[in-house]
């Protein structure tokens, strides 16, 4: 992982220590044994217990719940075992198919974000003054509240009165798109905002990756008279491929997590054109109160992401340079 290699650059202040070189130790540390074990468990206990209760336990209980037909309002007596009924229903429901397809379309935003971010990172890394200022500017959308951003874009994207379409009309576009009100433009609108907010994060990680490329490579290339474009495609792109891989994985995972933006911006509409599996899950669980069915969605989603991540790890061997 990118971040691991960065760890070496962490400076730890040299403490004026009275480190006494103690007797040489072999493989066996003098501090092993049960005391060390107990100390270790105590230190990680809060984290581990929290994770177990809030993550591991829910995953396992989702598995159980997904085979039941239950709405939590009716109490445990209301639960009945229905086998794979929920899954059957899920795979034959058009809405779920639609949501999945939408999510796969959303994935297109990931490579676009990567390309823009890498280009900006290369420019900011070498070719501008005020580097730090630019980092802050592009980082701003990433730290801003998604809800506030969604509210702002709701107005900016207004089909007739919104500033974006007014600008387009004054530029001579006769029928500007209806953006989030238009079935065929709502998903691209969501993607546009995803790209806008995602650039900052990707850019910052790319900048770290660029710093790890040895300068001598570029110097040598320059001696040989290689053009900037040649240097970019033959040195920069291959050498940041581990970073690209990390960002691809986190990007894909986070595109399956997009929730706030869609709920506030479109609520899945119009006509389910921005419905994603997590929004569908939310609707089924908390508005329709179908606990068992929603658990089945959770499980399918979980497995889907595991599969996608696994595939990415297999395919990476073909294009990532370590």
């Amino acid at each position: 992982m990118q971040s691991v290699s960065n760890a070496q650059s962490v400076e730890v202040k040299k403490q004026p220590t009275k480190v006494r070189k103690k007797s040489k130790r072999r493989n066996k540390t003098p501090f092993g044994g049960w005391k060390e074990n107990v100390a270790g468990y105590l230190f990680i206990a809060p984290m581990f217990i929290g994770t177990s209760v809030l993550v591991l336990f829910p995953i396992i209980s989702s598995l159980v719940l997904s085979f039941t037909n239950w709405n939590f309002v009716s109490g445990f007596e209301g639960a009945s075992f229905v086998g794979i009924e929920n899954f059957k229903k899920l795979f034959t429901t058009n809405l779920f198919h639609k949501a999945l397809i939408n999510n796969f379309i959303l994935l297109l935003a990931v490579p676009v974000t990567l390309i823009i971010s890498l280009a900006l990172a290369v420019i900011i890394n070498k070719h501008v003054y005020l580097k730090d200022l630019f980092k802050v500017i592009y980082f701003m959308p990433f730290i801003s509240s998604v809800v506030a951003v969604a509210v702002v874009f709701q107005v900016l994207f207004h089909p007739s009165k919104g500033p974006i379409n007014q600008l387009l009309m004054s530029l001579g576009v006769e029928n500007p798109p209806g953006w989030i009100a238009d079935i065929s433009f709502s998903l691209p609108s969501v993607m546009l905002i995803m790209i806008w907010t995602g650039i900052g994060f990707n850019l910052i990680i790319y900048l770290a990756g660029l710093q790890n490329i040895p300068k001598e490579l570029y110097e040598a290339a320059q001696m040989d008279g290689a053009s900037s474009w040649y240097q970019f495609t033959k040195i920069t792109v291959p050498l940041v491929s581990p970073t690209t891989f990390l960002l691809l994985i986190t990007g894909v995972i986070s595109s399956f997590k997009v929730f706030d933006l869609i709920i506030v911006l479109t609520n899945g509409g119009p006509a389910n054109s921005t419905l994603t599996p997590v929004v569908y899950l939310y609707q089924q669980a908390f508005l329709e109160l179908k606990t068992g069915y929603a658990s089945a969605i959770s499980l399918v989603l979980f497995i889907l992401i595991l599969i996608i991540t696994y595939i990415q790890f297999i395919v990476q061997k073909k294009w990532v340079n370590y």
């Binding site: 992982m1 971040s3 691991v4 960065n6 760890a7 962490v10 400076e11 403490q15 220590t17 009275k18 006494r20 540390t29 501090f31 060390e36 074990n37 100390a39 270790g40 468990y41 230190f43 990680i44 809060p46 984290m47 581990f48 809030l54 993550v55 829910p58 995953i59 420019i123 501008v128 730090d132 980092k135 592009y138 980082f139 701003m140 730290i143 801003s144 509240s145 998604v146 809800v147 506030a148 509210v151 702002v152 900016l156 007014q166 994060f201 910052i204 986190t250 995972i253 997590k257 929730f259 706030d260 709920i263 506030v264 997590v278 899950l281 669980a285 908390f286 606990t291 959770s298 992401i305």
Partner: protein
């Protein structure tokens, strides 16, 4: 390259072009702030008045802060939840991070792997069972529940572990020779050494918790417990047609973040690079 008096012309041109792109990039924010100062009828006039002709800032912000959805209360709730979450999360993560980095105990690698693996799970897939669990435990519709939800961070543990790994083992071992226990070493040697990292993680956790919308949406019901993000959304539902007020609400939700980010931006950016991932 043409160089005059140490200034690289090419670089300067690129900087100016990038500055223009940067301004376009920040346009939504600039528009939001400007709209929050305007009278309603001027918000959507075209061409856009970047500097309002008629100022209505005081009235707009007053309307938001003391109106039907009083932002004063929302702020208080958000600050409470965010600060307590940050404190708990930093404590939990740095304990675990020290444990994984500096204590040799059985199964540490395996347990660390389990914790790292949970990062891949989209939080939404956990919502249903977490919701049931919280109702059963009596944590539903409480701030306590919200605080717990964001307190166990894989990101925090992973990031702080990187820093603890950077502390020399000899330092720890010599302290052990002198008879100090791990807790003592943690509190008086390790923790002070990683203070910058703790600050970084605290800022990030603050920002993410402040921005959390999904958990309050699901785990809060009472209006008087609402956090700022939930407030902005229900404000938009109620006043969806009064854009100047909506923009004032949005600005109010973002301002504390901007302040914290601008103060700590170096920390934030380094932290993101080090942790590598959000979570």
């Amino acid at each position: 390259m043409t160089t005059t008096k140490g200034i690289d012309i090419k670089k300067l041109v690129v900087t100016i072009i990038m500055a223009i792109i940067g301004v376009i990039f920040l346009m939504p924010f600039i528009w939001m702030i400007s709209a929050s100062f305007k009278v309603e009828t001027d918000v959507l006039t075209y061409p856009i008045q970047w500097i309002p002709e008629t100022w209505n800032a005081v009235e707009n912000y007053k309307g938001v802060w003391t109106g039907t959805m009083p932002f004063l209360l929302l702020y208080w709730n958000s600050i409470k939840v965010t600060v307590l979450t940050t404190i708990t999360s930093v404590t939990v993560s740095s304990l675990a991070a020290y444990g994984f980095a500096k204590i040799n105990f059985r199964g540490s690698n395996f347990l660390f792997l389990i914790i790292l693996a949970t990062f891949m799970i989209p939080p939404q897939t956990l919502l249903v069972t977490q919701f049931l669990l919280f109702r059963w435990l009596g944590l539903y519709d409480t701030h306590m529940g919200l605080i717990l939800l964001n307190s166990f961070s894989v990101f925090g543990t992973f990031m702080l572990r990187q820093f603890y790994l950077g502390i020399s083992n000899e330092l720890i071992e010599s302290a052990r020779m002198d008879g100090a226990g791990h807790f003592r070493i943690f509190a008086s040697i390790a923790l002070p050494l990683v203070r910058p990292a703790i600050a970084t993680y605290a800022i990030l956790r603050f920002i993410w918790t402040w921005n959390d919308f999904q958990n309050p949406l699901i785990f809060l019901r009472s209006k008087e417990l609402y956090t700022i993000q939930l407030g902005v959304q229900s404000f938009a539902d109620q006043h969806g047609s009064i854009y100047s007020l909506m923009m004032a609400a949005s600005v109010s939700a973002i301002i504390p973040l901007l302040i914290i980010f601008i103060i700590g931006q170096k920390h934030v950016i380094e932290g993101i690079q080090l942790g590598g991932v959000k979570g």
